[in-house]
């Protein structure tokens, strides 16, 4: 029997990681049960420390397993079934690496490795709060045990291919052979897996009846970083869909896309509502359940992708491991429910809402709307299953449903994005409402009027009325919200300018440095507004399909495309057909585009390579649809998609805003000594309040 040292090393590493994680879980739990709340766990129990170290060792074992699979992929070890099914010799090096997450077993290995990495960081930083970290570490170990059970017994990545080793592999799915696919799944998984950390902290804090809100401070960065990864992952996926799938859009409301959006929505709600707990000790029950739900939704997302429960065009790795996920979700839910009921008196709110016109209520509405949006996505995703169960026939729920239901919800959220930050905590006076809302209100009205004059008229013949109304409202709301955000920056900057005498630009920088979290948040809101503007552009999409011979031209909007040539080519990985098209705008040649159609030899699958000319105004999106067998001439489909670039710019602004929010406040380091306040001033301040 031939030996397979690397796959055996990988299998052994996985088994070792399982043993170590089981040790971390059980010994960690025993140590926590034995230790008293007053003692530091590492002093109280050496057992707890051994559990922590076992957790760290499990990360090393998991890294060895991940390395073994990557090594097998790079060395073309086709004795490993997974490598055989997802790579081939002529595959580009980067894609050999990305093969790690191209199939079921590899994806689960990536999940488990990322979880081990997060666990490693958490366990190394345990001194932030030893006892809470011990709780979180034990809970994370529980999640890790589930994934390692899957990897060791249900979906082993190092299965040996029976019979003689084939000379070459089956190749990677062509849709995955795209640069973004090298970073999109890891980003998404970093987001998915990352929510396990705030979940573990929240559950741990609840179980140990953690005093105060410090656990929120500890987990704030974890949550923000995780949210950022998930945001990047989702939009990299959207950009990949736009650039690769070749249907002219970026979001198809596919169940797998929906699965990534749901935890993002609840995670966003959590990021907002924890502020209320931090500031006013409110919404504790709500926050705990929000983070529980977010984590359960990440597991549900993985279940939807893997189990075949719902049909998806890009569920690349379906299998029958669904029952494992159902079991895990039920156990997790039961543990959360038990911990909640046992300790619910600990989650008593310190304050209540005092006014409907306040920052708190705007957060509450924002949370509810985000949850309604999440429910709508979940409802639409699962409705086909429900419909089949109730009526016996499956219903299809696709883009028309989601667009009709979610667009009004999205607009309401956009409205709250502008309104929320303008309201004061506790209660807002009428005077303040008038002062803060007059400019954004004017911006809204003026934009609506200007756009209608410029031609965005829902009543105009030939337009989709609903889409035009929604885009008109979006653009107008966007103007209002941008005005509100700008005025917030200017108001603060003017105060700094008055105090320091600096110019407006430097004052704004100082203002932002003083409160990075607040102004980072505003920047994120601004990015979201830009993103909405990009989405609203979709109401004005145009497309045209035409067979094009040499010298034929096609007109769409202000663009004219002239076919210069069409040909074919070949390399060891794929055969390709392409057309060369000169693009003219207002009679002037601006670029040449070469849309392609590829046929991958190893996997025997076709793929479209979109040719794109992108500007701030619109994207010219060209697809080579194939050849007409009768005339042997290429069929070219062209889309003119307005404002698409704004979506990607908006995402970059969101990323910048989140990074700014993660940066420490410079002002805090500048004022290290406590400020001494004279008694009369103190009294005045108290009376003022």
């Amino acid at each position: 029997m031939p030996s397979h040292p690397m796959p055996e090393f990988g299998s052994f590493s996985l088994l070792l990681a399982l043993v170590l994680s089981v040790y971390t879980l059980f010994v960690g739990a025993i140590a926590l049960a034995r230790s008293s709340a007053a003692e530091r766990i590492d002093n109280a129990s050496r057992l707890g420390e051994t559990a922590r170290r076992a957790g760290i060792a499990s990360f090393i074992a998991m890294s060895c397993a991940a390395f073994a699979l990557v090594w097998a992929s790079f060395t073309n070890d086709y004795s490993v079934a997974y490598v055989l099914h997802h790579t081939n010799r002529s595959l580009n090096t980067a894609y050999k690496f990305s093969a790690l997450w191209s199939g079921q077993e590899g994806s689960l290995l990536l999940w488990a490795w990322l979880l081990a990495t997060y666990g490693f960081v958490l366990r190394m930083r345990h001194r932030v709060d030893v006892r809470l970290s011990a709780f979180a570490s034990t809970i994370l170990a529980g999640v890790q045990v589930f994934f390692l059970l899957l990897l060791n017994f249900a979906a082993p990545p190092f299965s040996i291919q029976p019979g003689p080793t084939p000379a070459d592999g089956n190749g990677l799915n062509p849709l995955l052979q795209y640069p973004e696919m090298v970073i999109h799944p890891p980003m998404l998984y970093l987001g998915y897996v990352g929510f396990a950390v705030p979940f573990a902290f929240a559950l741990g804090a609840l179980m140990m009846r953690y005093p105060g809100e410090k656990w929120i401070h500890i987990t704030r960065r974890w949550t923000m970083v995780t949210w950022l990864f998930l945001t990047c992952g989702i939009f990299l996926g959207a950009h990949w869909a736009y650039s690769v799938l070749g249907w002219g859009g970026y979001w198809g409301w596919d169940p797998v896309e929906n699965a990534s959006l749901m935890p993002w929505l609840t995670g966003t709600a959590f990021l907002h509502s924890v502020m209320m707990q931090e500031k006013r000790g409110m919404m504790k029950n709500w926050n705990v359940w929000l983070i529980f739900s977010t984590f359960l939704l990440t597991i549900l997302g993985t279940l939807l992708t893997r189990s075949g429960l719902v049909q998806s065009v890009h569920a690349f790795a379906q299998s029958n491991i669904g029952n494992w996920f159902y079991g895990f979700m039920m156990i997790t839910f039961a543990v959360c429910l038990f911990a909640f009921f046992k300790n619910r008196d600990h989650l008593k709110s310190e304050n209540k809402l005092e006014s409907i016109v306040s920052r708190e209520s705007s957060f509450l509405f924002n949370n509810l709307i985000l949850l309604v949006a999440c429910f709508t996505v979940l409802w639409g995703t699962l409705f086909p299953v429900l419909s089949e169960y109730v009526t016996g026939t499956k219903a299809t729920v696709n883009a028309p449903y989601y667009n009709r239901v979610n667009v009004p919800i999205g607009l309401f959220l956009l409205f709250l994005t502008g309104v929320g930050p303008l309201l004061a905590w506790r209660s807002t006076s009428l005077r303040s409402i008038r002062r803060n809302f007059i400019l954004p209100g004017i911006a809204f009205a003026v934009t609506a009027i200007v756009l209608m004059i410029a031609g965005v008229r829902p009543w105009r013949d030939g337009d989709d009325m609903h889409a035009t109304i929604f885009s008109l409202v979006t653009f107008s709301l966007a103007a209002g919200v941008i005005t509100a955000i700008t005025s917030e920056f200017l108001r603060g900057a003017n105060v700094v300018r008055t105090q320091t005498g600096k110019n407006l630009f430097l004052s704004t920088i100082q203002l932002v440095q003083k409160n990075t979290r607040r102004y980072g948040g505003y920047l994120v809101h601004f990015g979201i507004v830009v993103l909405f503007i990009g989405i609203a552009g979709g109401a004005f999409n145009q497309s045209h399909e035409q067979e094009m011979g040499f010298g034929d031209s096609l007109q769409l909007g202000s663009y004219r495309l002239v076919c210069q040539s069409f040909s074919q080519d070949s390399n060891p990985n794929y055969d390709t057909e392409y057309a060369l098209l000169d693009v003219y705008q207002y009679g002037k040649k601006i670029t040449q585009l070469a849309p392609e159609h590829r046929f991958y030899i190893a996997s025997q699958q076709p793929s479209t390579i979109v040719a794109l000319h992108s500007t701030l105004q619109a994207d010219l999106y060209v697809i080579y649809e194939g050849k007409n067998p009768d005339t042997d001439r290429p069929i070219i489909k062209v889309f003119l998609n307005p404002l698409i670039s704004w979506i990607w710019i908006g995402v970059l602004i969101v990323i910048a805003g989140t990074l700014l929010g993660l940066a420490p406040n410079l002002a805090r380091t500048a004022f290290k000594s406590p400020v001494v306040i004279e008694p009369p001033l103190m009294e005045a301040e108290v009376h003022h309040v």
Partner: protein, 161 residues
């Protein structure tokens, strides 16, 4: 300003604006084709909307688009056209639950939840607000230093983030 919002003239102006917006909302054949075609899936199993299916050599989309043109030209309503496709290809050909009956639940549930969430929140805030008003006002004069510090810390927490 707020008096203006309550004025009848403003209400009348809003009604006129809405009426003008709705005037001339016509329905061309191209618009109908786009609308109905975007409410159907391609039957080839690609999971794409009929008018967006971009498979090379798709066995179904070209034929279905031809059928759609024929049905629209026959003069039936959107519902009649969609029903014709449902009869021929099955219910999964619709891109959204549009058959009526249980399909209505798909549309009603999120809207009902949305309204219930808004109204419920408003009601809860109202109840909390009335309870807060019933509580005795906070005494500030004559407070101990410790209480004042606590209040100051609360002010700091609630006004700075």
């Amino acid at each position: 300003m707020f008096r203006l919002f309550r004025s009848r003239w403003l209400h009348a102006a809003i009604v006129c604006c809405v009426a003008v917006v709705m005037l001339g909302a016509g329905d061309t054949s191209e618009k109908r084709y786009e609308r109905v075609g975007h409410n159907m899936m391609c039957a080839c199993g690609c999971g794409q909307i009929l008018l967006e299916c971009n498979h090379v050599g798709c066995p179904d989309s070209a034929r279905m688009i031809g059928e759609l043109h024929e049905q629209l030209a026959a003069g039936g309503s959107d519902k009649t056209v969609l029903n014709w496709f449902v009869e021929k290809y099955g219910a999964t050909i619709l891109a959204a639950p549009l058959r009526g009956g249980f399909d209505n639940v798909a549309w009603i549930t999120p809207i009902a939840l949305f309204l219930a969430a808004i109204l419920g929140t408003a009601l809860i805030i109202r109840i909390w607000k009335s309870r807060a008003q019933q509580r005795a006002p906070l005494k500030i004069k004559g407070m101990s230093a410790a209480s004042t510090d606590e209040l100051r810390e609360r002010i700091r927490r609630e006004t700075h983030y």
